[in-house]
Symmetry: C2
């Protein structure tokens, strides 16, 4: 295992300490590293809280700040945060207007956020499940929540900042999730520090189509294809799942998994954009970068969110977080 670490037991806390020190203008760490929260809360605003296993950075801590999340609860690497983390976060950031949990669809996450939601008052939840690769998966009943979660957090975060009430935010989050589809491919496996070896074996000439963000198996193992062939297949899976809805204005988001440099991500974006536009999608917003990662896995995912006037404007609204920033 080749990583910048001191000890597998302190990877997470040391990384969080560095993250909080580097972005002290935006956020603060909760006691015992239970959560990351916005430094400046906005009284009367519904609080948005997300979280999940670590190893997907900058998701979710990198999206804490003005116009996006109020708090994020980091579990150990690829391990759900515990309900007491979410309860501590609620206590720290709920200013009286209630909380919305944004949860990726994994059994552990769903169970632990559910427990916290039952113990706290005034909490609603949005569960993301944008991954079209497989119906059920390791750790998941139903579809996995992957990179599209960023899009839900950004759009709902902007609406919360503008004063939208809790039930409307929940409806908006569900609507954005339903307008979002993703699929990923892996060229190499990431390595969980505590495991010390790659999560899965993969040959020099192989790739995994439909991989999950924990290295879960996807649709199949195949020979390494060209960027255009990969884009054709991934975009066809996404567009096919959308059916007639894959027409008109959309956000195209090409996401790196941690070990793939931006040169390749922009090349994939170029291929994917061409495929989608041939099918009647108009790419009106774009995001390219490593935002929802799987440790040091080489690979990428493609996410398409169909936009309308409201969601376009919310995407464009000012945001000031460690990993996404514009308009301020």
């Amino acid at each position: 295992m080749k990583k910048f670490i001191n000890s597998v037991d302190t990877v997470l806390t040391e990384s969080l300490d560095g993250f909080a020190a580097a972005h002290a203008d935006i956020l603060v760490l909760g006691d015992e590293h239970k959560f990351i929260r916005r430094r400046a809360l906005k009284p009367g605003k519904v609080a948005l809280i997300s979280g999940g296993g670590s190893g997907h950075e900058p998701l979710h801590g990198g999206f804490v700040g003005h116009g996006m999340l109020d708090a994020a609860c980091p579990g150990q690497v690829f391990t759900s945060p515990t309900p007491d983390q979410m309860l501590a976060a609620v206590e720290a950031v709920d200013t009286g207007a209630g909380c919305l949990f944004i949860v990726k669809n994994y059994e552990g996450d769903v169970m632990n956020f559910d427990m916290a939601a039952e113990m706290a008052d005034g909490v609603l939840q949005v569960v993301t499940n944008d991954d079209v690769a497989v119906e059920n998966s390791s750790y998941t009943t139903g579809r996995r929540g992957v990179a599209g979660t960023l899009v839900v957090e950004k759009i709902v975060g902007a609406a919360a900042d503008q004063g939208m009430a809790l039930p409307d935010l929940k409806a908006l989050g569900d609507r954005v999730n339903a307008a979002t589809r993703s699929m990923g491919v892996a060229l190499t496996s990431g390595t969980v520090p505590a495991a010390g070896k790659p999560t899965f074996e993969i040959g020099d000439g192989e790739m995994e189509f439909g991989v999950g963000i924990h290295g879960e198996p996807g649709r199949r193992r195949d020979k390494l294809k060209s960027a255009d062939a990969i884009a054709e297949e991934v975009c066809a899976a996404i567009a096919g799942d959308f059916g007639d809805r894959a027409k008109g204005p959309a956000l195209l988001f090409v996401n790196g998994f941690g070990g793939t440099p931006s040169m390749e991500l922009y090349l994939m974006y170029n291929s994917a954009r061409r495929v989608f536009e041939k099918q009647g999608v108009t790419v009106v917003r774009s995001l390219v970068g490593s935002y929802v990662t799987s440790l040091d896995m080489a690979g990428c995912s493609i996410t398409l969110t169909m936009l309308d006037d409201e969601t376009s404007a919310l995407w464009d609204a000012p945001v000031h977080t460690a990993a996404l920033r514009w308009g301020m």
Copy 2:
């Protein structure tokens, strides 16, 4: 070689096409992919132009836009751009106030930017050489220009936007370069697409201390060390080279080389910050991310820039580029 590509001959142009399409609000591609330039020029402002071999993305194209570069000339991967690229860029972005070239210290880059500067009128140059690892290197007489180049481009870019004249910008650039030191370490080698195999061999338990951004050898090959031990050695090299000047306010920039995820970069930032602050440095600005890369190389560099009131304010000034954005 495991990369998202269609053909080694079109990697660069396809990636640039994707980049320009994703950021069409900020920039446009010149004819024949000779340069990337700001979409909206600012008449009367000195034009800042940089460039160099590709493979270091987002450097330099990702820094084209308001408050930073007016144009960037991308050479082939790890190959200097040609003088006609710089001349075409000058013609496209010089609005009459002259041009400043910002050039990393590599023999090919220096020669080709020099030729272009002689053929154009009203051009001055800043050559960056922030890498303390070795005095001379493959492709370099004197020290290499590495991640600190971003800091020079940001600070000089802000001053140009505020109307500073060409000779003063050159003096400022030289001053920021002289206040900046970097050193990098590699855990793996990157792979040049046209070569098809890693640039250098490195064992499972080995790392390269002082590596260059093209995979050039550094000070020595060593066994893989802990993050703290790496930070101690790199920071000592930087602080030792600064001598008495490594006291007081500074920007700490931990830069990923392309294959290292942000979780590890923040952990390294945490280690490096502790080391520098013990030595009397006060970290008042921070940047953590993969900004000056070496294709898919796993590794990172640490850059320290000693700041004063003027350079701090210029660092904070609004910037709107594909890869750095704040204040607007």
